[in-house]
């Protein structure tokens, strides 16, 4: 036994190393899964399912829900309007300071949203850098308005669209565009018939990410736009304030946001988890 065991032992050693590796991974991985999953279970466990519909039918809940939809879709619209052209420039045109512009564009993704809100106040507030001019020239003040809430959401969410679209444009095979041009298609036709369909998945994913981020925006919104039901009190603000006097309403609102997040995740699963 001891004499002949040389070869099998080596094989056993590799096998145990193979088994040992996963255990080293499994323990922290289980911790990670638990850490991420338990809060969601807590939310589900505390929810009073019987009253859920009743809670969701409360007028202030419906108002917050509607406002959230308006603001988040508005933020996506702004992002598409000015963010997609920016993505094109970043992906296609060499210009001095391009990396700086890209870094600047990405900054709101890592900036604490409250800091974003303070910055927005100091820029677009009534006494702000651009805000005082807006106020004097057009009588426009953004804080405490729905437009302000949309702006705050767009500020935080647009980078997601820009980055995703730019990546899609870079990954795209440009020979199709060249072929279209060779066949006599103008720039607009090429863009519309070739480029757009090719980057549509990236654009869709970027818009979905942008929308989800806008929907969940809290810090910049409450700092810049304030909190008034029907005007600037979006779902996350309503959740935060409901928590202080009506836990069940806060849970009901949270569940809605959770469902929306899951829906985005499921819709995007092919893109984000292509092997699964």
């Amino acid at each position: 036994m001891t004499v002949t065991a040389r070869r099998p032992r080596r094989r056993a050693a590799t096998a145990s190393a193979r088994a040992g590796g996963p255990i080293l991974l499994v323990v922290p991985a289980l911790l990670a899964v638990g850490f991420l999953a338990i809060p969601l279970l807590g939310l589900l466990e505390q929810a009073s399912w019987r009253n859920l519909l009743h809670e969701l039918a409360q007028p202030q809940v419906l108002v917050a829900l509607r406002l959230s939809l308006v603001c988040s879709l508005g933020a996506v619209a702004i992002s598409l309007l000015i963010g997609v052209p920016l993505a094109f420039l970043l992906a296609r045109v060499e210009f001095p300071g391009r990396n700086l512009v890209r870094a600047l564009t990405t900054l709101p993704m890592v900036l604490p949203p409250v800091v974003g809100g303070v910055a927005l106040l100091l820029a677009f507030g009534r006494r702000g850098l651009a805000g005082q001019w807006l106020d004097r020239a057009f009588g426009i003040t953004l804080p405490f308005t729905t437009a302000g809430a949309i702006l705050a959401e767009a500020f935080v969410a647009m980078p997601f669209l820009v980055i995703t679209t730019e990546a899609g444009l870079r990954a795209m095979d440009r020979r199709y565009e060249d072929a279209a041009a060779t066949l006599g298609a103008g720039r607009w036709t090429t863009f519309r018939r070739v480029t757009l369909p090719l980057i549509a998945p990236s654009l869709g994913a970027g818009a979905a990410l942008c929308w989800a981020r806008a929907l969940g925006e809290f810090g910049a919104t409450i700092t810049f736009a304030g909190n008034l039901p029907g005007t600037t009190q979006t779902m996350p603000l309503a959740v935060y304030l409901a928590l202080e006097n009506d836990l069940q309403a806060a849970i009901a609102l949270s569940l809605v946001l959770l469902v929306v997040s899951l829906a985005v995740l499921i819709a995007m699963r092919d893109r984000w988890f292509p092997t699964a």
Partner: protein, 261 residues
């Protein structure tokens, strides 16, 4: 059915977590319970008490060098909810009796230690010439109030209702200090806060008095939290607030003595 499933799933996850934690870090036992280290008490206090309590906290630590005081300043309604959710508070000081009553079962016997009056807060120089509560109904004026669950917001609404003044606020802030911020930044033209907030925010803002017969006095109760494991230190803080020294500090920040009962 669903709930029991979730519960068992959660239990499983917790077991997995604990098992993982036990297996993972035997080395971390023995931690930080040094015997000489100072005790820390956490005082949950209404946002309007910020400046005054910071000073009292310094005095307290000067008198009790072994006890460190940490403050959690927020709207009283938020603090009451946190205490209901078992936040680690040792002392709770509320800007109204309503929120103290919300946690009645979780705290010792509350005692009133101060009162406060409302004041209209405007930008320095009062550019919009606000003279009193009735001016706040002017639609051209951007008025910010505290949310109705915040004591300052509730008192402000009582005062406005009593004068039959209808105000369309542009924002309902989560605590009274946020109202001060919005006015001092110039985003709002006026707000209703406590006299003490105007004192604390002097420089960029000023107050417009609300006559006594239109004012709604705020009463501040304080109590130790039953779940606290530092009862004597917590009680010492409450005593400090109610002592002559503490009352002197509160007075210097514009607070009035508690209503005689």
């Amino acid at each position: 059915m669903l709930r029991s499933w979730i519960r068992s799933a959660a239990a499983l996850a917790v077991v997995a977590l604990v098992a993982a934690a036990c297996g993972g870090n035997d080395s971390s036992s023995g931690g930080s319970s040094g015997s000489g280290s100072p005790t820390e008490i956490k005082v949950f206090a209404a946002a309007s008490l910020t400046a005054a309590f910071n000073k009292i906290g310094q005095d307290y630590t000067a008198a009790n060098p072994n006890t460190k005081v940490t403050f959690n300043f927020a709207g009283s309604q938020a603090l009451a909810t946190q205490i209901q959710q078992s936040a680690p508070a040792d002392v709770f000081a509320s800007a109204d009796t309503t929120n103290m009553n919300k946690v009645r079962d979780l705290v010792g016997s509350p005692q009133n230690f101060a009162s406060n009056l409302l004041e209209i807060i405007v930008a320095k120089g009062n550019p919009k010439a606000v003279k009193g509560l009735s001016d706040l109904s002017n639609p051209d004026l951007k008025v910010v109030l505290a949310a109705p669950d915040v004591p300052a917001g509730k008192y402000a609404r009582q005062a406005l209702d009593a004068q039959h003044v209808t105000v369309k606020p542009v924002s309902l802030e989560d605590n009274v200090k946020a109202v001060v911020t919005k006015v001092s930044l110039g985003e709002a033209d006026a707000g209703i806060v406590y006299v003490t907030d105007v004192t604390a925010g002097s420089g960029k803002v000023e107050g417009v008095d609300i006559p006594n017969d239109q004012n709604v006095p705020a009463t501040y109760p304080i109590a130790t939290v039953k779940a606290s494991s530092h009862q004597s230190q917590a009680q010492a803080f409450v005593d400090m607030v109610r002592s002559d020294q503490g009352q002197q500090v509160l007075k210097s920040f514009g607070f009035l003595p508690p209503p005689a009962s």
